[in-house]
């Protein structure tokens, strides 16, 4: 595992393996998710992989009504808004991601701090298949 480069490509490879992997600085212990090729706290390049549980809480969010073409293709839009937000993981770092299981049509009723857990979603099989995370209560 340690021979993989600390970059986005490796991060996505790990996602396919159902692992949320970030980098940890061996000198100062700072965490980065997605991984960074160097520690931006102390600029050390001696890093190790660390796995995140994918559990956290809702730090901030939006419910998007006017969807970009990429999301409209999935059926999102005026009559079917979707939620994206910032999730603060229990290990410390934050992620941005899609959030399911909360009512996107009633955003005023959603409270920050809701506990969320990551779920792995696979797009249609084929050479362009992607894995991404959706967070649910």
């Amino acid at each position: 595992m340690n021979d993989r480069a600390f970059n986005d490509h490796s991060y996505e490879e790990f996602l396919k393996e159902k692992k949320i992997m970030g980098s940890k600085c061996k000198k100062c212990g700072a965490l980065a998710l997605p991984p960074r090729p160097l520690c931006v706290s102390c600029f050390n390049q001696d890093l190790e992989w660390v796995q995140f549980r994918g559990a956290g809480k809702l730090a901030a969010f939006t419910s998007i009504v006017i969807a970009p073409p990429s999301m409209a293709k999935e059926g999102f839009g005026k009559n079917n808004p979707y939620i994206v937000g910032v999730i603060e993981l229990e290990e410390g770092p934050k992620m941005v991601g899609r959030i399911a299981g909360l009512d996107a049509k009633k955003p005023a009723e959603i409270d920050l701090g809701v506990a969320l857990k990551a779920e792995f979603i696979y797009t249609d099989p084929g050479p362009d298949q992607k894995t991404y995370l959706v967070f649910r209560p």
């Binding site: 969010f61 009504v65 006017i66 969807a67 970009p68 999301m71 994206v84 910032v86 934050k94 992620m95």
Partner: protein
């Protein structure tokens, strides 16, 4: 532009042009705008450089112009910006602008209104306020806009209400009744959601536009005017993506830019008598007036509610009507903001001239992307 220079300028004397443009490459399928402009205005064969910093593209052109003159390399430089956005559908414009978000935000399905909506939910929770506080920003911007002959929406919120009522009457539809401007903004039939809690009237429009300014070396300024406006301070910063930033309700890029500009000019936030700030969304204006040090963190919304940022208040913000009502042709915005500060300092702002004040110092803050690039420019009348 030529007519606006008191003693005139011979275009042949302009040494170089710097022009900001974000993504006409996408909006009109045409890149390489530098030489197009050079060709158009007869500047060939002298140099032209395009700068890109998303919605802060032309503020970067301004900085390059200042650097070129400060270094002694050039004496007379034209700086400007342009963007043509109206050829695309709203969804396509959202996608084009979205390319200035971080790859992680784009992949997750964020839009620009979505990013600022996300910031807003954090701001509300942190400072115990809600969507209603943003209405004050929108109402204030639209009070200034009718006073600006170049505004895209030269209407107050009251004007929007009256227009709607008139339309319903003409069509024989039930005539809506709103108690006041806030009731109008609360009504989702006229102010529909875009990305919670950002509704239509929280968002700047899709605009076409261009802007430019002439920069000259201090020692030759009097050749062009008896009343030059000086660049007292310039600053630029960069910022982390939404997931990596420590504080969601602040832009580290603005804070760095402000620190640099204050340090260079010797001015403090109190010395800045008025400012244009990048209100691409109502929420953004509150963050900026806090990051620039005009108000403490969490106090920007109270200051706005109290009217402190109105044209006749102690700290007028966005006298032009702001991006919300003046319009936001993204690549042109940075220099359009500096132009407004120049107009105010020269007391040429007409009906929107800040009243009863000896104006000497004003600022312009420009933001690109989701806070990835920010600038702060301080102008001074000496």
């Amino acid at each position: 532009m030529l007519g606006s220079i008191d003693k005139g300028v011979d275009p042949k004397d302009i040494d170089a042009i710097y022009i900001g443009n974000f993504t006409n490459d996408f909006f009109v399928n045409q890149a390489h705008w530098g030489p197009i402009i050079s060709d158009l205005v007869g500047h060939v064969p002298k140099p032209v450089t395009r700068t890109e910093g998303a919605c802060a593209s032309s503020a970067l052109a301004f900085r390059e112009g200042v650097f070129a003159i400060a270094s002694g390399f050039y004496d007379i430089v034209l700086v400007g910006g342009l963007e043509q956005m109206s050829k695309r559908t709203t969804e396509e414009v959202a996608e084009g602008l979205g390319t200035a978000g971080s790859p992680y935000e784009v992949a997750a399905g964020f839009t620009f209104p979505g990013v600022f909506g996300t910031i807003a939910t954090s701001y509300f929770a942190k400072y115990g306020t809600n969507r209603e506080t943003l209405f004050n920003v929108t109402i204030k911007s639209h009070l200034n806009a009718p006073l600006n002959p170049k505004a895209q929406f030269p209407m107050t919120i009251r004007d929007f209400m009256n227009t709607r009522i008139e339309k319903c009457r003409q069509k024989g539809m039930p005539v809506p009744e709103w108690e006041d401007e806030k009731a109008f903004l609360r009504d989702v039939t006229v102010n529909p959601p875009i990305a919670w809690p950002m509704h239509l009237f929280d968002c700047c429009p899709i605009s076409d536009g261009a802007s430019c300014l002439l920069l000259v070396a201090e020692d030759i300024a009097k050749r062009f005017t008896d009343n030059p406006i000086y660049v007292a301070g310039i600053g630029q910063g960069s910022g982390y993506s939404l997931h990596a930033t420590k504080n969601i309700t602040s832009f580290e890029a603005t804070k760095y830019a402000a620190q640099e500009a204050y340090g260079m000019s010797g001015f403090t936030p109190n010395d800045i008598q008025f400012a244009e700030v990048h209100d691409c969304f109502s929420m953004a204006e509150l963050i900026h007036i806090e990051d620039l040090g005009f108000f403490k963190p969490g106090e920007g919304h109270k200051a706005t509610a109290e009217g402190l940022t109105r044209l006749d208040g102690p700290k007028p913000i966005n006298t032009s009507g702001g991006l919300k009502s003046k319009g936001h042709p993204v690549g042109a915005t940075g220099i359009a903001q500096i132009y407004e500060v120049w107009m105010q300092l020269r007391e040429k702002a007409g009906k929107r001239q800040i009243p009863n004040r000896n104006l000497r110092v004003g600022g312009a803050q420009n933001l690109g992307g989701t806070g990835g690039t920010c600038t702060f420019t301080i102008l001074e009348r000496r």
